[in-house]
Symmetry: C2
Subunit: 428 residues, 2 copies
Amino acid sequence: MKPLIYEDCQAMDRQDPLCVLKDMFQLPQGLVYLDGNSLGALPKTAQSRVTQAIQHEWGNELIRSWNTSGWFELPRKVGDKIAQLIGAYPGEVVATDTTSINLFKVLAAALSIAASDSPTKKKIVSERSNFPTDLYIAQAICKERGYELVLFDLQEQALDSVLLEDVAVLMLTHVNYRTGAMHDMRAVSALAHDQGILTIWDLAHSAGAVPVDLHSDKADFAVGCGYKYLNGGPGAPAFVWAHPKHVGRFWQPLAGWWGHERPFDFSPDYIPSPSIVRFQCGTQPILSLVALECGVDVFLAAQELGGMYALRKKSLALTELFMRLVDERLSPYGISIVTPRKPDERGSQVSLIAKEGAYEIVQALIARGVLGDYRAGDGGKYPDILRFGFTPLYLGFSDVWEAVDQLHKVMQTEEWRDPRFAHKNAVT
Amino acid sequence: MKPLIYEDCQAMDRQDPLCVLKDMFQLPQGLVYLDGNSLGALPKTAQSRVTQAIQHEWGNELIRSWNTSGWFELPRKVGDKIAQLIGAYPGEVVATDTTSINLFKVLAAALSIAASDSPTKKKIVSERSNFPTDLYIAQAICKERGYELVLFDLQEQALDSVLLEDVAVLMLTHVNYRTGAMHDMRAVSALAHDQGILTIWDLAHSAGAVPVDLHSDKADFAVGCGYKYLNGGPGAPAFVWAHPKHVGRFWQPLAGWWGHERPFDFSPDYIPSPSIVRFQCGTQPILSLVALECGVDVFLAAQELGGMYALRKKSLALTELFMRLVDERLSPYGISIVTPRKPDERGSQVSLIAKEGAYEIVQALIARGVLGDYRAGDGGKYPDILRFGFTPLYLGFSDVWEAVDQLHKVMQTEEWRDPRFAHKNAVT
């Protein structure tokens, strides 16, 4: 196969029907942004929408906006839009709180259901390489309720060897934050359900990145993030979904008034809403929530161009191109790929490892205008990685070329050894 | 005493050294806004600060802003500023999540401490008329941990009759959301501590409304709201404080990665921060958080004019004027005052009851440009109330006159009986 050249990538861009979507974002000139898996780019509509929320809704309408500007319904309205991206129905999702907090809610609800149906099940299973906050929340709830958290590593164990009959809940992140490896939700759900195990999916790296079909794939609960692929802005509210068959069975302990069946009765007794609204707790940050809606609206606008399936096709083409170019141009420098090669097994990111200097290489690359990030290797258990997210909404094939080309320069010149890149202070 | 006239109120405004603070807010022309106890008004700095956060920090700096724009430290930075208003020290407060969720955290921590120190204490005591979300959260945690929630009514029982030796935690809202009645934090703390009971204070209606001195008054834990008197914008993050002697003793169950001692180690084991940071959980809504900082900054600017003590003096003068005018002009129409007359016993709001039509009267008043709100009477247990918040930052004495004058017209004309005011759809 003839090595690719820049002109090949330009040709791919010319043939890309989704390239028009980039115009919906405000991106800094001269930056190749490969960190949309950590903080999505700014949708052009967000500024005017937030300004309207500040000036008109807050400034002029003041308290009346809870009704007249639809603030009170906003978590459900944005939830309904997110539902379209994850195979859920209207009324099944709310955009609220943080991913960690939503995980606590669904884990508490799932354990209550498991305790009622199968009281001998006393374990939660998750992946050793899951995003730490998921593991911390699970540890905390295990401590509260007397469960045991069992962590497995797919490198060492097959999933079915840990999905034993004493397991109540399997809690996985659909796409791994480090490697970009993606679980087969349908197959895993079937395996879990065979043992009477409920499944919780963290969609932080899949909502807006890959097509998700919670109902078809028989998920039980899901949570996800608003500020990564959904482009909702820094710290945008997260979302939560529960299968309708589970929603009404148990209420979750964050039983705030926004989850009450009739919050404005001001009754002293908590009566949970019969719907997903019971997963709401307190008053939500409206300015951040209206920005999130702008991010989600980009996906709805993309539906005319084929929606999540067209985006997925482009995402796979981008990540495949990146991997091919890394193989061709960077393997001589000891850079290798840890993300699965098979399309069905990866999300929308590619992670690399270097023989040495992962952190410094990322910093040197950022100095050259290519923004990826670094993730520490958890005390040697996993390698340090260079992480690159490929958001098909605003990235083109020439951007991929540029990223690899700059990384090639960083390695060729060994400029990453410059002391100015040495300080360790990475943030998600 | 000669009845007051409008000119008297104008004279009071001319003598008010704090009247300049009104210029720091953007208020709609022709509106008397008496609902700052529910949603504070818009500080003029908020728009440009949020725009900067959107355009420069999110749009241009993107993920780098977690470091370069100080996003990651923002909950602590804003917390340090709030600390100045509530008698806490730097490093003791974080601005994060919602009041309900923060209450869950401190209640969980307090119960863990109580369970360790005095395992036979199995009750949480609160007020029957506390804001419902506080009671719901307490109900949920009682269910989780096998505690009993005991509700008292100060109309029927003295506090010391319920603070018995089997009580672990006393959880009160400092200023009542319905009546505006304020507890004596120091006296109540002493009474509680005599029985080995920990105290949790919800400062939703006191932070920014009255001087609070958590250390002097020997509080154990506190939470509060960002969007009421702190003027942080709709759904602004809340805050949480724990006395330093309690912070390190037990971690709370919302053990997300933002509360970890070293979040960017990505270790699978949760090690809580030794400080109040352990009360952080997940990634915070930055756009809402920067707006909150603008609201809090108004108070810091007011420090030159005497700070919370000067604001309190004016607040008492405003509420006293309101009560006097209500007595003089509205008692013939069956309007009476439920808020305590003694200054030490009320916050910064005055609540009224009407013989009939409380909801409709509020709506008719709003139609006349005076924005207060209505709170339902909890199924007849308490009367329906007309609620008026007096924010000394942006209200003057003429505004108080105008409010009573318009209410007088509503009552005199009986226009509140017009069917257009009849629909019940009140929001906090």
